[in-house]
């Protein structure tokens, strides 16, 4: 079983792309995460939501990949949002102040509400 599994969903007419991460995101799979996010960001979605609700662990290398994607989304005039982080991941986002840099929602539904 892979340490980190990912899925991408873009429904026709939806103004957002949903990337769901499950398992553990760390330095051993941050390269794969980067490729996945780069590919989605390159499609220039208006909103990219990363669902973290099934992610048990995230380290700083995964965070850096996300922050990098956020910077590109910013430049493209889009928004990257995080949804549903569990306690340890939410705390890490807080300690690094990443939660002040990009929106963090409790659920995917909230992140895609507008």
């Amino acid at each position: 079983m892979d340490l980190l599994t990912t899925s991408v969903a873009t429904a026709d007419g939806d103004p957002y792309t949903l990337v769901a991460l499950a398992g553990e995101a760390d330095v051993t799979n941050s390269g794969a995460l980067r490729e996945l996010l780069d590919a989605e960001v390159a499609k220039e979605p208006r909103t990219l939501v990363i669902d973290l609700s099934e992610l048990r662990f995230m380290d700083s290398s995964a965070l850096h990949v996300i922050l990098r994607a956020n910077r590109t989304m910013d430049r493209q005039g889009g928004v990257l949002a995080l949804a549903g982080p569990r306690d340890p991941v939410a705390k890490m986002l807080r300690l690094t102040a990443a939660d002040q840099l990009l929106p963090v929602y409790a659920t995917v539904a909230e992140a895609t509400a507008e």
């Binding site: 340490l3 662990f57 380290d59 290398s61 850096h64 922050l67 910077r71 340890p88 690094t96």
Partner: protein
């Protein structure tokens, strides 16, 4: 303990008093600043035979870390950080850490172990033991950390690197770091509340 740790960590720094004035006082958490404030050279004591050269040498050569306890758990890793995290979580829970603090320790150890993967070609060792009032996790590898203050200031708001050691210092009760050309040892301490 934290004061001592901060002093010893800083002992790597060249004995330049300016190091404190170059510290970004806006960024770190208050607790970190409090510790840094205590890390200047010791006051000179006239007539006791300690020269400034002695003091400088002492500051550059930190005292060795005390040996681990008798009852240690050892684990060697190269790429499987998931196993490292599982072991730390299990030991943290067994030692009586709350779920939140056990997860803090998992994050800290994982961040340090990730540096082994990033910066060395060889395996690293995790050693875990309990000592009075705390659980200790130590990571040893062949990497070298040149900056003794690495991780003591928060990376800028949009930095896409450098958060690893910052997190380690934030979540642990005390961190001891020794590093030279032969390798790096980082000890992470988590206090354990006695059962009430």
């Amino acid at each position: 303990m934290p004061e001592r740790a901060a002093l010893d960590n800083l002992a790597f720094a060249p004995a330049e008093p300016e190091i404190r004035s170059s510290y970004d006082t806006a960024a770190p958490e208050p607790a970190v600043m409090a510790d840094v404030g205590r890390t200047g050279p010791p006051p000179s004591r006239a007539g006791c035979g300690v020269t400034e050269q002695d003091q400088a040498a002492q500051l550059r050569t930190p005292p060795p870390l005390p040996p681990p306890g008798d009852d240690v758990i050892g684990h060697t890793y190269r790429t499987d950080l998931s196993k490292v995290r599982a072991l730390v979580l299990q030991q943290g829970r067994a030692a009586g850490l709350s779920e939140s603090r056990a997860n803090d320790l998992v994050l800290a150890v994982s961040e340090v172990a990730a540096n082994t993967l990033r910066h060395t070609q060889s395996s690293g060792t995790l050693t875990i033991w309990r000592q009075p009032g705390e659980l200790v996790c130590e990571i040893q590898d062949e990497g070298t950390i040149a900056d003794p203050l690495a991780g003591q200031t928060r990376p800028g708001p949009d930095a896409t690197g450098g958060h690893g050691l910052w997190l380690v210092y934030q979540v642990c009760d005390a961190v001891e770091l020794r590093s030279d050309e032969s390798g790096t040892t980082i000890r992470m301490h988590m206090g354990i509340q006695p059962p009430s």
